[in-house]
């Protein structure tokens, strides 16, 4: 069957089925049936539309652009995950030699993952973008994503840490820089953040020794002992951005040491921090109660119970509202990449190895967010040690589930796997359900699996 359907400027309405997660309406390009390649696609756009509308393109789930990144940020927004930034190695052949240079992903685009329909979109963003960065941290407050810190390597602008804050309006898809009063945080990367009650909290990080140490008397700094790195240090700063002002709240209790490449997760009014690196890699576990600002060091109730090995560049994700956490992967004390997931159970006060995947893949410096209910998704990162000459990048997302997918998603998987027979039938399906199916079927390539 060969036919061409042009739906014109179709309003791609994400308010589908009976789900209320509407991210707004994006104007997309025309949807066409490509007779030659026998697949549905959005007409390709290389630059922004003339009237300045955002460009949205469905991404092939296996596209390297999605998965070949480390040091990126991934945050959950409604039923989407927003992935931005990070870098990968770009191999170039020049003058009879191969050189590897880091290629930083563009700052004016995000990858948007729809958790329910399992569809990726690349979205171009307006406004004033941040520099291309790795090791930044991001969090969502309302309809805005805040981004702080990170490290940039730019031929013209140089190599440095930044201490700027940028805000991405997720409705309008526009960046802008935020200027805040008060003492700003130390420029650093590989820090963690969380958002609580409209405030954006930052903790820890690795960056240059401050020029203005007088402002940071309460922050503990630990110098990196390497020969070329005397001017860089780990810090234990705890700072929050509230109403356009930086605040340095006082805390009590068992304050964690300075560290970077640690991981944090927020459950209710408590922030949990695990491990990271301060010279050596750590596996200590802390909780900060954001109401009382008291740090507590958490030890398993049974001293003989197994605990995850010391690590950095791992991820920590909240599983539910009760305080269960999922820890994944990272890089251990012997500089080996890890593939072990662990679950913290607050009722049992213990870590247990997670058995949801029979063969969990290696991941380090990846990003993890909750997906649909009962699901955690890992994006990007490395599937080998970072110290190799040619590290292996992730080839796909990793899904950890303790609950089966919804029947809607299972059916979409089957329709996706049988495209030739599915596509014509879509026209007999009532909209807006048809929109969801079309979204899935037009995304070239099959579902993201490792």
């Amino acid at each position: 069957m060969s036919y061409r359907v042009v739906t014109g400027l179709c309003y791609f309405n994400f308010n589908l089925c009976c789900h209320q997660h509407c991210i707004g309406v994006w104007r997309c390009s025309t949807m066409e049936h490509d007779e030659e390649r026998q697949r549905w696609m959005f007409a390709e756009h290389d630059e922004r539309c003339e009237n300045g509308e955002n460009c949205v393109e469905p991404m092939n789930a296996k596209s390297p652009k999605l998965h070949r990144r480390v040091g990126h940020v991934a945050v959950k927004y409604k039923n989407f995950v927003v992935v931005w930034g990070g870098y990968e190695d770009d191999e170039q052949y020049d003058n009879n030699a191969y050189t590897r240079e880091p290629y930083y992903h563009p700052a004016d685009e995000v990858m948007l993952y729809d958790c329910e329909y399992e569809v990726w979109h690349g979205v171009r963003i307006h406004g004033d973008p941040p520099p291309r960065l790795c090791g930044a941290t991001a969090g969502v407050i309302g309809d805005r994503m805040l981004l702080f810190g990170g490290f940039m390597e730019d031929r013209q602008l140089g190599t440095s840490n930044v201490r700027t804050v940028y805000e991405l309006d997720l409705n309008k898809m526009a960046w802008k820089q935020i200027w805040a009063d008060g003492v700003p945080p130390l420029a650093c990367d590989k820090l963690v953040s969380w958002c609580y009650e409209g405030k954006f909290y930052l903790f820890g990080g690795f960056g240059p020794w401050p020029d203005d140490p007088g402002y940071y008397r309460d922050v503990r700094l630990a110098a990196h002992p390497g020969a070329m790195r005397e001017d860089r240090c780990w810090n234990d700063q705890l700072v929050r951005l509230a109403d356009g002002r930086w605040e340095w709240p006082e805390t009590r209790g068992d304050r964690p040491t300075p560290r970077a490449a640690h991981a944090a997760a927020l459950v209710g009014s408590r922030a949990y921090i695990f491990g990271g690196r301060l010279g050596n890699r750590l596996n200590d576990f802390y909780c900060l109660d954001l109401e009382t600002m008291v740090w507590t060091k958490l030890e398993p109730s049974d001293p003989a119970a197994p605990v995850p090995a010391a690590r950095s560049w791992h991820s920590l994700t909240a599983l539910d509202d009760h305080g269960r956490l999922l820890l994944y992967g990272g890089f251990d004390a012997l500089s080996q990449p890890l593939a072990d997931p662990w679950i913290w159970s607050p009722s049992g006060q213990r870590w247990s190895p997670c058995t949801w995947l029979s063969e969990p893949p290696i991941r380090m410096w990846h990003a993890a967010t909750p997906g649909e209910a009962g699901e955690v998704v890992l994006f990007g990162g490395l599937a080998s040690s970072v110290l190799l000459d040619q590290p292996t990048y992730a080839s796909g997302s990793v899904f950890l589930r303790e609950t089966p997918k919804s029947l809607i998603r299972l059916c979409l998987d089957v329709l996706d796997a049988n495209r030739e027979t599915s596509v014509p039938l879509v026209w007999f399906t009532p909209s807006p359900l048809a929109d969801g199916i079309i979204a899935r079927l037009t995304a070239c390539g099959s579902k993201p699996v490792v």
């Binding site: 058995t355 303790e402 089966p404 029947l407 979409l412 089957v414």
Partner: protein, 118 residues
């Protein structure tokens, strides 16, 4: 005979479909097949949950029977199988196996799943 052997001779006792605390509910397809499933399993569907626990809007919550005028039996049967799969593997500590769906049924099943919110 010992007590244990006597017990084994009795018929297994199942709950019924009657009353508000019934263990089972009846789901009727458009072609009048009745599927009797555990109430707990049927509550996987948000729509059925509303119908069975809503404030008297639906008479279903009195009779524990729901009729789906638009869902044929070959689809409703898959829905019931999904309920069992979902309940069995929720909070599973092992890797969740695949749920087999015949591609010929997939689209109708998707429409039913969309309606049932499951």
């Amino acid at each position: 005979m010992s007590e244990g052997a006597e017990k084994m001779d009795e018929d297994p006792q199942y709950g019924g479909c009657e009353g508000p605390d019934a263990t089972y509910v009846k789901l009727r397809s458009s072609d009048n097949h009745e599927f009797i499933v555990k109430r707990e399993h049927a509550l996987t569907s948000g729509t059925i949950r509303n119908m069975l626990s809503g404030p008297g809007q639906f008479k279903e919550n009195e009779t524990n029977e729901v009729t789906f005028k638009e869902i044929p039996s070959h689809v409703l049967q898959m829905v019931c199988m999904y309920f069992t799969y979902k309940v069995r593997y929720t909070n599973s500590s092992t890797e969740i196996p695949d749920f087999q769906i015949d591609p010929k049924v997939a689209l109708e099943l998707l429409m039913a799943a969309n309606f049932l919110y499951c």
